[in-house]
Amino acid sequence: MSGLLEIKHLTKRFGDTVILNDINITVNKGEVVVILGPSGCGKSTLLRCINALEDIQGGEILIDGGMIGKGADMSKVGMVFQSYDLFPHLNVLDNITLAPRKVHKRTRADAEEEARELLKRVGLSGKEKSFPRELSGGQKQRAAIVRALIMHPELLLFDEVTAALDPEMVREVLEVILDLARQERTMMIVTHEMQFAKAIADRVIMIDGGSIVEENPPERFFTEPDTQRARQFLETFTYESVRK
């Protein structure tokens, strides 16, 4: 059985610098894959490659059997970015309905109806007419998730969606993503929220220096990882007590 997403021997370079080196990943329908790794390891670039925002220097990426750049249906992939990427000149409802109206040629009424439903699901009812500047960071990211959802993607990419948020807002966004996992959505998530990763992942992939160093179910990855590198990485999240 072939996966919804298949990455084969992916190589990405910026000039002479190798960002991703021979990456092979398969993601099946309904699976949640969490990508971990230290700063600059290439994980965000990986998501950007899957969303065709970066050109690749080697290998191939297949979305539901279609190769990116050669006939893959990119509408099957949706992405939510790290920074608040809502269009600042449009209110929440227009932000969400712009793409369905212009790309899918849906009527405004139809798109708005679905948008309102989705907004309700993520707890943003009543914010339809608000502009991004009037929302908190957490609200913005929830609206950005709705904006991606309304295009009915089969694969959702989350690129450190809580990284720019104040700590108290992280949870409200992660709850929305957990809810999506309960609906058996296929997702690839780059995050540095370890507890969240543990809770949501079907599989954890750790990338370091542009290569996959470990791939394991979360139970195993977080308790007894196979590699020394993964152990070191996990240790950076714990602190030794200084009390005597």
Binding site: V77, H89, F131, A148, F237
Partner: protein
């Protein structure tokens, strides 16, 4: 100051002011078109055209309008390109203004965060759709202050049109001073009429800036700062930051 002389001169200055406005508006309108084309060429990095635009902008911005007009009006006819004064004035103003408008629009386009183009792309919008629905509306808001500054600047620049024998406000003032020595009245009317032309543009510009400034522009500035701050903060405490 002699009220009677003022009354006598007013129609002359009125007519001259009208000429200033008409030529200025025409020149500015063409500047906007040139500026738009140049800024798009630069924004989308169109090869060859981009280099030509850069050279044009350097030449246009680094020479005074008066020198440009002398060359167009007195120099070019010697190689067979004759223009009448009005066309020459408009052409000169457009040549000068095009580069200023290009810079204004380009700064607006550049100020639109790259992430917006990317998220539009990942939502499936085409390049044209992205430009018209996502990039342009944001760019317009940021371009307003430099745009109005340019309109005022170009209107002011029309004051050298008298050098190519256009009977504008300066020409009329100089003429009347030379003929009748009614310096005070002439200078008074000169200043008043320029104020009548320029002040409303300036006030309207300030108004627009405030109106739009409350919207996206200020917002995007704020988020940029916040993002930088939070990025710095993260770099210090959390080892795992985005790449």
């Amino acid at each position: 100051m002699d009220i009677q002389i003022l009354q006598e001169y007013l129609p002359l200055f009125g007519e001259a002011a009208l000429l200033t406005i008409v030529l200025g508006t025409a020149g500015i309108a063409i500047s906007v078109v040139i500026g738009l084309i140049c800024s798009l060429v630069q924004y989308y990095r169109i090869p060859v055209a981009r280099q030509i635009v850069r050279i044009y902008i350097e030449i246009s911005r680094n020479t005074p309008l008066l020198i440009q007009l002398f060359f167009i009006y007195y120099g070019l006819p010697k190689v067979g390109i004759k223009t009448d004064p009005a066309i020459c004035g408009i052409a000169g103003l457009a040549f000068l203004g095009g580069s200023y408008m290009a810079e204004a629009f380009r700064s607006g386009l550049d100020a639109v965060d790259k992430i917006h183009a990317e998220s539009a792309k990942s939502l499936g919008l085409t390049g044209t759709q992205t430009f018209f629905y996502v990039i342009l509306p944001q760019a317009v808001a940021t371009s307003i202050p430099p745009f109005t500054a340019n309109v005022i600047f170009l209107m002011k620049e029309t004051s050298v049109f008298s050098a190519v024998s256009l009977m504008d406000l300066m020409f009329t003032a100089k003429d009347l001073i030379g003929l009748y020595y009614n310096t005070t009245e002439s200078l008074f009317l000169l200043v008043v009429l320029y104020l009548i032309i320029l002040l409303p543009i300036s006030l309207f510009g300030t108004f627009l800036e405030h109106k739009l400034g409350n919207n996206s522009v200020r917002q995007s500035r704020k988020t940029t700062v916040k993002r930088q701050v939070s990025e710095n903060a993260r770099k210090e405490v959390v080892p795992d930051v985005g790449n």
